[in-house]
Amino acid sequence: MTAVLNVSGVRKDFGDVPVLRGIDLQVSEGTVVALIGGSGSGKSTLLRCINLLEVVTDGVIRLDGEDITDPRVDADQVRRRIGVVFQSYNLFPHMSALRNVSLAPRVVGKLAKADAESRARELLARVGLADKANAYPDRLSGGQQQRTAIARALANDPRLLLLDEVTSALDPELVGEVLDLIKELKAQGMTIVMATHEMGFAREIADQVCFLDQGVVAESGPPEQVLGNPSSPRLRQFLSRVLRHE
């Protein structure tokens, strides 16, 4: 069985600054991979490369076996197979929750307006926001905005969901509702790669945890091993810094 996502030898330089120095990563169907690491370790850059928002400097990324880093591949086609949720939600402020979620099915999926909206209503119900369909983003709490963003990311029925520190901008009491939703998505079989600072959550939900450090996957494995019994001093140092506040 081929992995849903296969990243091999990916490098990314910004000018003279190497951010990713050769990343290897395999994500099988229905699993959750958590990327951890300090700021600047390359977590977000890796996610942006996978979604083709950045052009890799070298290396290959395969989605369902297809080399998506090949310039002959239609990037828009690839992106609609990947859902992305951003740290600061990035909802479209001039559209209601319903239009935010129905936009991709209408424009990209070419569904009729009524079909796209009924699909969007289903998705909003799935994230527990059926009653907020007509609300604009500025009338929603952070947690509600992020759940709308998750519904939007699911609208194309993606093969892979990328979550970029989706709880980092939320008030502590709102983090739970978003994490519960992600747990549900995993239970439904979604394949997820997430950059996160929530170590407790990573331990609970991830099948594999990757510690990114200085642009490489410095340590990776099941959460008990990586988080419970870190082998490198840098990971131990990182964990002690993060966990002190948990």
Partner: protein, 291 residues
């Protein structure tokens, strides 16, 4: 029982401190209004006395503020203004899409579009750089001089073309600023959903960009209203030209005062609308803040 009439406070009585604060604010507001009113009246009075006591005042009064000349010229200048309004409507209807298209195309990335970006940059630089009156002379008299029968030769048409070329460049820059003001994360979000560049522009970036630039666009619009008067140099009988014709036959300048008043009346709705839109935008961005 509250002494305040406000319904929002319900039955909760206000504290003595709050009542005192409100008394102070009311007092201060009343005092500021009074000071402003008195100082305005004094200033206006001084100005009035100064003007009416100037040595040439009697001469100015009969030349600029002649009642009979005013009522005589008013219908002709008003009729001329109708021409201004028609030119204004047609010009703005073309300028808006021209500006938006130029701005949108200037932000397209990719080497293939280099010639397009280059041409549009030259267009904006050239037509924003040429004074409108010079442009009117060049195009308004240059095009008919070519003697080609298929080219337009009427002053109204050529004047409108000049206004479109000049204000299209201004509008394009306003729209471009609006496009650049939309945060890149909005583009990232749209592209990550699989929308292509054009779809992202049309559905996500432009709606937000246009909303952001409505106040500056209205400002340009007010400016355009006045600049339409410049087409009079091409012989179009607009409000300015109509006033000029009367002035030439009577040596009285009251017709220009008529034109000035009519242009002001024309500008007020646009100016108030611009203020309203700006206030609405500020209200949205900082709901409830004091400063």
């Amino acid at each position: 029982m509250s002494t305040q009439p406000s319904a929002a406070e319900g039955t909760v009585a206000l504290s003595a401190v709050e009542l005192d604060r409100r008394r102070y604010r009311r007092q201060r507001a009343w005092r500021s209004t009074a000071i402003a009113a008195v100082s305005t009246l004094v200033f206006a009075g001084v100005l009035l006395v100064a003007v009416t006591h100037a040595p040439g005042w009697e001469q100015v009064k009969s030349t600029y503020f002649s009642g009979s000349q005013f009522s005589d010229s008013f219908p002709r200048v008003l009729h001329g203004l109708w021409t201004n309004l028609r030119i204004l409507a047609v010009a703005e209807a073309i300028i808006l899409p021209v500006g938006l298209t130029v701005a949108a195309l200037r932000t397209v990335k990719g080497a293939v579009f280099f010639p397009v970006r280059g041409i549009l940059t030259v267009y904006v630089d050239v037509f924003r750089g040429i004074p409108l009156i010079v442009l009117l002379y060049l195009i308004g008299f240059g095009i008919p001089a070519l003697g080609e029968s298929w080219l337009p030769s009427s002053g109204i048409t050529l004047g409108t073309v000049c206004l479109v070329l000049s204000y299209g460049a201004y509008h394009a820059e306003v729209f471009r600023a609006g496009i650049l003001s939309v945060h890149p994360s909005q583009r990232a979000a749209a592209r990550s959903l699989g929308l292509n560049h054009a779809q992202t522009m049309r559905l996500v970036v432009l709606p937000q960009a246009v909303r952001a630039v409505i106040p500056p666009l209205l400002n340009d619009f007010v400016s355009l209203q006045k600049d339409v008067g410049l087409v009079s140099i091409l012989g179009v009988i607009d409000a300015v030209r109509a006033a000029q014709i009367d002035n030439y036959s009577t040596y009285n300048y009251t017709p220009y005062v008529v034109a000035a008043l009519l242009f002001i009346v024309l500008a007020i709705p646009s100016a108030r609308f611009a203020d309203y839109m700006l206030a609405r935008q500020i209200r949205r961005q900082q709901a409830g803040a004091v400063v």
